[in-house]
Symmetry: C2
Subunit: 433 residues, 2 copies
């Protein structure tokens, strides 16, 4: 379908950027005028007569409704993917990839772009054979099929999930050049599931039962200890995310949701819940996921993810390409304790702060989207954001964190991030003192 | 990796249901007990010693984090797809496919499962070449690139989009056996975009400008007239859905969002907005998308989608398979005017009603999720749901709609739907008088 059609103007070829190479390069319509638009407040140009030209996609039928029973993004969006850092871990089956935060907007993370962290690869579990057991200090040990779980009353909640190691590489200064890599171990979806409380009440927790061990069904048999108070509060045994079944890399067919607490506790491929009278001190809560302080002692059980924010645009992977003039700065803020009530933005490395605009539903323990719409004069910027939650907790500087915890830490870095925007719009990860 | 490993118990093969046939059939663990669980209030069984058996997925490493840069559902979920009805239209490029509502939960529709309706196939538009023009009765005609649009302040909102023809086949009685087909022309996502008002103010609408023509860039050049009052109210020029770029079949790179109004007005691949002093009366608002009454006259401009609901489970495609006992009935409710404040459920064809439990964020012009948790005694059921919105509008019976509008109609059927559940759990689309 790439032949010239009668009535078409001559066209110049452009390199094929998609699987549909027949969509050949077309009009240069009003491009001169539009380039100028970047410098005027209107940020748009008056129409050129060329607007009346018929584009390729006006002339031909596209794919029908039977083409994609399960849809996929446009071929022009192939760069919007999760990315891993091969040198970060010895093997991709015990590793992480990162959410492309700089390509997203709003507060929902699409399922295909939710970061993954697993310790023995993605377990492919047959839901018909999978079982969830509750044992230990309970009146009646129980085993549930997936069909059993779906007979209990359900709830729906949007929660962020953040890995405790998110931003961990930045303890020792600016390391990774892009918010996908510095902050991309977070995602935010709507979960559907049964309150953990309901299942524990069904089994009958004995009065001596103060702790819960959650165990995964993958080859790493991930285990974490959870205090009973949290287990009976807002945890979910979830089987859907953003409406559909959990994705395999997110624990299909069932995972634990531990709102506001570090992602490692949200055990995936959940197979067992054991009630006990004390924590188990397994590998993932001793040698890992504890914070080694300057003294050589480690903080035990740092569960809550503290109030935090990051500017996603502009950022190193998303520089300013439109020149001076009206510019949308945007980012994400969250708190493991509740809602974010305020985000301030600085363009001069933290000397002056202005309130950002929070937009979209404000949900507890969910990502919040903020914007700062400003008129860029083309000078250098040192961008920072600082979030505050409903309890008055304020995101600290990285320096304050280092003073409190030393430089041995990896986990729970909620420090203020700085991006340096050059006059040409190129943006870098830097640190200001 | 399917060979027997030392220490494994003998296994029985089961038919491969996934691309990973090496995940061979495993334990029959506690199946006898679990089958019995369906009849006891606990809806779960005490553990069988077999629970300690190691499943296949406990033993082997799965795929690493580099396997799926953009993720996909589990191979066990291949049946969860959009479906079209080949006999419904002459050609798949001017047709519809349907959201599998019976497979979903919560209120967010994942992008890959949002129903499609287009009139000339899916236009594959190059965002670098795409332009949006505002012309007509404006002070300054404007042309925007995609980069231009992204310099204006943005907003995020969750809105349902319902085709005016949703449930249209049901005017003449129960026709289609599944809520995917009777009610699946609806989806619900979070949009990110620029208020249409902002762009119109930038162009400067002349006092004579009372109507807006929205035009799509696909080969059908879809056009609809929108009154200026709505255009200046809550419409968005949106470029993201559920965080990521619009999907091609949803208008990539930019579509109009017309909250609460019929889906056909949400022009996709939006290329032009013309301001005029009267409606255009184009094809899609005269011969189509008007309601032909018994008198032979047609209702002109029936824009708002009235208050409506449907039970998604149980339903013909999702019968009760777990037998009598605790059962979760669930469904969706929505109103084009605002929030849904109440949903009632009947199990006896509308003779008695009980309030359902609304769950999840209650957002204006968004889907709402409701549940009715009950103990099924195994007898026949005639299930109905009836929604009410914040303005006191109550979903009518189909019979009331027919009395008001006759039987020529296709569009705007918000009548109460009935599912007949047999004693064996099989569920059918029926009508009660």
């Amino acid at each position: 379908m790439s032949e010239q059609k009668p009535g078409n103007r001559p066209r110049t070829d452009r390199p094929g950027t998609s699987r549909r190479a027949f969509l050949r390069g077309g009009s240069t319509l009003a491009v001169g005028a539009l380039a100028g638009a970047a410098t005027v407040p209107a940020h748009a140009a008056q129409p050129d007569p060329a607007i009346t030209e018929i584009q390729e996609w006006n002339q031909y039928l596209g794919d029908g409704v039977d083409a994609f029973p399960y849809g996929a993004p446009s071929s022009f969006e192939k760069h919007v993917i999760r990315r891993n850092v091969p040198w970060l871990t010895a093997d991709a089956t015990a590793s992480v990839n990162f959410t492309p935060l700089h390509e997203l907007d709003g507060i929902i993370t699409p399922n295909g772009l939710c970061f993954e962290r697993h310790h023995a690869g993605i377990a492919l579990v047959d839901p018909a054979q999978h079982r969830l057991m509750i044992n230990g200090l309970v009146e009646t040990p129980l085993v549930f099929t997936m069909a059993d779980l779906q007979r209990f009353p359900r709830e729906n909640h949007v929660y962020f999930l953040e890995c405790a190691a998110n931003t961990g590489m930045e303890w020792r200064g600016a390391q990774l050049n892009g918010c996908q890599f510095t902050h991309g171990m977070v995602h935010n979806v709507m979960y559907t599931g049964v309150p953990l409380r309901t299942l524990l009440q069904e089994a009958g927790v004995k009065t001596s039962g103060k702790w819960l061990l959650a165990e995964g069904a993958d080859a790493s048999a991930m285990t974490r200890s959870i205090p009973m108070e949290k287990a009976l509060d807002d945890c979910l045994v979830a089987f859907k995310m953003n409406g559909e079944a959990l994705r395999p890399e997110q624990g299909y067919p069932v995972r634990l949701v531990v709102p506001g607490w570090e992602g490692n506790m949200w055990v995936k491929w959940l197979r067992r819940l054991e009630v006990g009278d004390q924590p188990w001190h397994h590998r993932e809560e001793t040698s890992k996921y504890t914070d080694l302080l300057e003294s050589g002692k480690a903080r035990r059980f740092t569960w809550t993810m503290d109030v935090k924010s990051v500017i996603t645009n502009p950022s190193p992977q998303a520089p300013i390409t439109t020149g001076p003039g009206p510019t949308v700065l945007t980012g994400l803020a969250w708190s493991g304790l509740g809602t974010v009530t305020r985000v301030d933005v600085s363009v001069d490395g933290g000397r002056n702060w202005r309130p950002a605009r929070l937009d979209g539903p404000s949900l507890s323990k969910s990502l919040h989207r903020f914007y700062y719409d400003f008129n860029w004069d083309g000078s250098e910027l040192l961008l920072q954001s600082r979030a505050m939650d409903e309890f008055g907790n304020v995101q600290p500087t990285k320096e304050a964190l280092r003073q409190a915890r030393g430089e041995n830490s990896i986990y729970h870095n909620n420090g203020i991030q700085t991006w340096y925007v050059q006059e040409n719009g190129v943006t870098e990860n830097v640190e200001v003192s």
